[in-house]
């Protein structure tokens, strides 16, 4: 995990061989290198061996309820915006064994935990995704009752961030203040400049670990003209986002619990839970207890859960949130409003995934906008 030190390194210019040298150096240090690749007509983050695995020339089109890959016509490796699934599935796995136990002396004994998996290096973490990782580490990070798994995995990870040179169709990170500039929380930060004549990655370090890694690559310093071009592209991306979140209303959604808009959303929402599965900060889980057929060996597994399922709020006698509108209200009010009280920030980073992957295209910014417009002048 990135440290707090401030290494005064110059921005280096990596060419394709330099990027491959970085991937090779990470693998050599024992990291499982995870990066973007194309699978099932989508960008996914999975184990990569070299830059040849990255999605060259692949862009994406995203809109409410719509996701398509497209050919960019250039060789950009980071020309898509965000993959359907972020890094959450690696740091907060969808299925995780909590413990195994075996019957013993009329009781049971908890078996020792399995050894930790190899540390991971994440290549291609966007600003919004980095913000989401920061948010989840606060959720899981309370020393007294925290989740040792999340903090442990993050602390051992190496983060290579990539700044967005283009905005995606459903992005609104600029209005959430989480991007597209990458400010902190990385070991190495890249900006890709892909053109007809050249293809470089401007790289600088955000931690001692990153500085040490970068200096080992012996890449030449990036010319000022390239750095200016990179800054120009990233700030153009910030200005090119079509959506904004009305921040003040979002923060006070809890005061609008009886708003008529909830009934309206309840008619459209299918309560499928897609938004919670793709959201990089949603953290809710349930547990499954299982045994072998003889009943001698038992395990508890923790799996992602969604506040959109009726079982989520079940207590003896029935569910608390029977109506779909109550479940949508819970999700969005928690994310945008209650999160501030619980963890000191919004739970939304503006990545736009919940909009893209909603089968009926419900747009979180539009819903807050509707409540905002209604409340004006009150």
């Amino acid at each position: 995990m990135p440290g707090v030190d401030d290494p005064k390194t110059v921005t280096a210019a990596l060419d394709m061989a330099g990027l491959d040298a970085l991937i090779a150096a990470l693998a050599e240090r024992g990291y499982r290198v995870i990066g973007p690749m194309v699978a099932d007509d989508a960008v996914v983050y999975d184990e990569i061996a070299s830059s040849a695995d990255l999605p060259a020339g692949v862009g994406d089109e995203q809109d409410g309820g719509r996701y398509r890959l497209r050919a960019r016509g250039d060789g950009a490796l980071f020309g898509y915006t965000v993959a359907p699934q972020g890094w959450k599935r690696l740091l907060h796995p969808p299925r995780q064994k909590m413990f195994a136990a075996r019957r013993q002396d009329g009781g049971f004994a908890i078996l020792p935990p399995e050894p930790a998996a190899a540390p991971m290096a994440f290549l291609g973490v966007r600003a919004c995704e980095l913000a989401a990782i920061g948010i989840q580490s606060r959720v899981f990070g309370d020393e007294a009752a925290g989740d040792p798994g999340y903090r442990g995995r993050l602390a051992r990870s190496f983060v290579v961030a990539v700044e967005c040179a283009e905005a995606g169709g459903t992005c609104f990170c600029a209005s959430m203040g989480t991007g597209p500039q990458v400010e902190a929380g990385f070991d190495i930060r890249l900006v890709e400049l892909a053109g007809h004549d050249r293809h470089v990655f401007l790289a600088d370090a955000g931690s001692a670990k990153g500085a040490e890694m970068l200096s080992g690559l012996n890449a030449p310093p990036a010319p000022e003209a390239d750095r200016a071009e990179a800054r120009r592209r990233v700030s153009a991306a910030a200005g090119a986002m079509g959506r904004t979140m009305p921040a003040a209303t979002a923060r006070r959604l809890g005061e609008h619990a009886e708003h008529r808009r909830w009934a309206d959303i309840g008619k459209r929402c299918l309560s499928c839970g897609n938004c919670t599965m793709v959201c990089p900060t949603c953290f809710c889980t349930t547990v499954e207890d299982v045994t072998d057929l003889k009943g001698e060996h038992a395990e508890r597994w923790r799996t992602w859960d969604s506040c959109f399922s009726i079982d989520f709020s079940y207590i003896h006698g029935g569910a608390i949130r029977n109506e779909v509108r109550s479940r949508y209200r819970q999700w969005i009010t928690h994310k945008l409003s209650a999160w501030h009280e619980q963890f000191g920030t919004s739970g939304c980073v503006g990545c736009g995934r919940c909009i893209t992957w909603c089968p009926v295209g419900i747009d979180i910014t539009e819903e807050v906008q509707a409540i905002h417009a209604d409340g004006k002048g009150r």
């Binding site: 989520f312 079940y314 819970q330």
Partner: protein, 278 residues
């Protein structure tokens, strides 16, 4: 292993010393740690109880916080885990994680009249606070227990209630929703008892536990009888999987009921209680 070192997500084996049938579907277990030692908790807290291979449920502690040797839980068999627990006997082992949650503020009520209002199995989470109050009896004005059950056959801890009623330093009123031919006591909902109880509303602390609708009407009735909102405490119930604010299930507005509750001061939650399906 010290408490600080223990992973809060791992159940600790406890051996069942005694099982006592309370009602047709309700039972009390006395537990002792299989590895030895005691169990410290505060009145109002709960544990996650695990049945090997079946699952885990949040159950409030119903024993005396002054007796650190035994852990006592009173449970109603309503789901897969609690039904499995109902079939367990002395000598069997259950897993325990906890204690979790906020306690009844018994010591902050010193000097006040103390009113306990319980509905159904909601008497179980209040009993530790009643024990604690009676162990410090001279610190309080009146001590009043108001209890409502569905029928005379559903009265939990009946012999204990009768014993408390026989004391000169305790006032106990019991009501049932539906009587039977043998019942000649009160019939009606528990908030109706409040007006008959002799306590000084200006210096009263009330601890309320029962179904949510019962707690809502009880709080309103206490207010109507002059008790301030800051003197009323309720114990909330929500779905819980972890007990320590990580699984998200127990969220209620900005609260994680497992760690910000279950015991809340009424003035801090009155607004939320009024919102349906929150």
């Amino acid at each position: 292993m010290t408490a600080a070192m223990r992973d809060p997500m791992l159940p600790r084996p406890f051996r069942i010393e005694k099982v006592r049938r309370e009602l047709s579907d309700t039972f009390t277990m006395e537990l002792v740690p299989a590895e030895g030692g005691g169990f410290a908790f505060a009145a109002g807290q709960f544990n996650m109880l695990y049945v090997f291979g079946i699952g885990e449920v949040p159950i409030s502690i119903s024993g005396d916080p002054g007796d650190g040797g035994k852990l006592i839980h009173t449970t109603r068999a309503v789901g897969a885990v609690t039904r499995a627990m109902d079939s367990m006997r002395a000598g069997d082992v259950v897993g325990v994680r906890g204690p979790f949650g906020t306690p009844w503020p018994v010591e902050e009520a010193f000097g006040h009249d103390l009113v306990f209002v319980a509905g159904g199995v909601g008497l179980a989470p209040l009993r530790p606070a009643i024990y604690q109050a009676m162990a410090n009896r001279q610190r309080f004005g009146k001590v009043v227990v108001l209890y409502g059950a569905r029928t005379p056959d559903d009265i939990l801890f009946r012999r204990e209630l009768e014993r408390w009623r026989g004391r000169f330093d305790m006032e106990v009123h019991v009501t049932v929703d539906r009587g039977n031919p043998k019942w000649s006591g009160n019939v009606g909902v528990v908030p109706n008892l409040i007006a008959h109880a002799g306590f000084d509303p200006l210096s009263t602390t009330a601890f309320v536990c029962g179904p949510e609708v019962m707690m809502r009407y009880t709080a309103l009735a206490l207010e109507k009888n002059g008790v301030g909102r800051e003197g009323i405490f309720l114990s909330m119930e929500r779905n819980m999987k972890c007990g320590c604010g990580l699984c998200g299930h127990c969220q209620w507005g900005p609260h994680f009921v497992c760690k910000d509750g279950p015991v809340y001061r009424y003035d801090r939650i009155a607004d939320l209680l009024a919102i349906r399906e929150l």
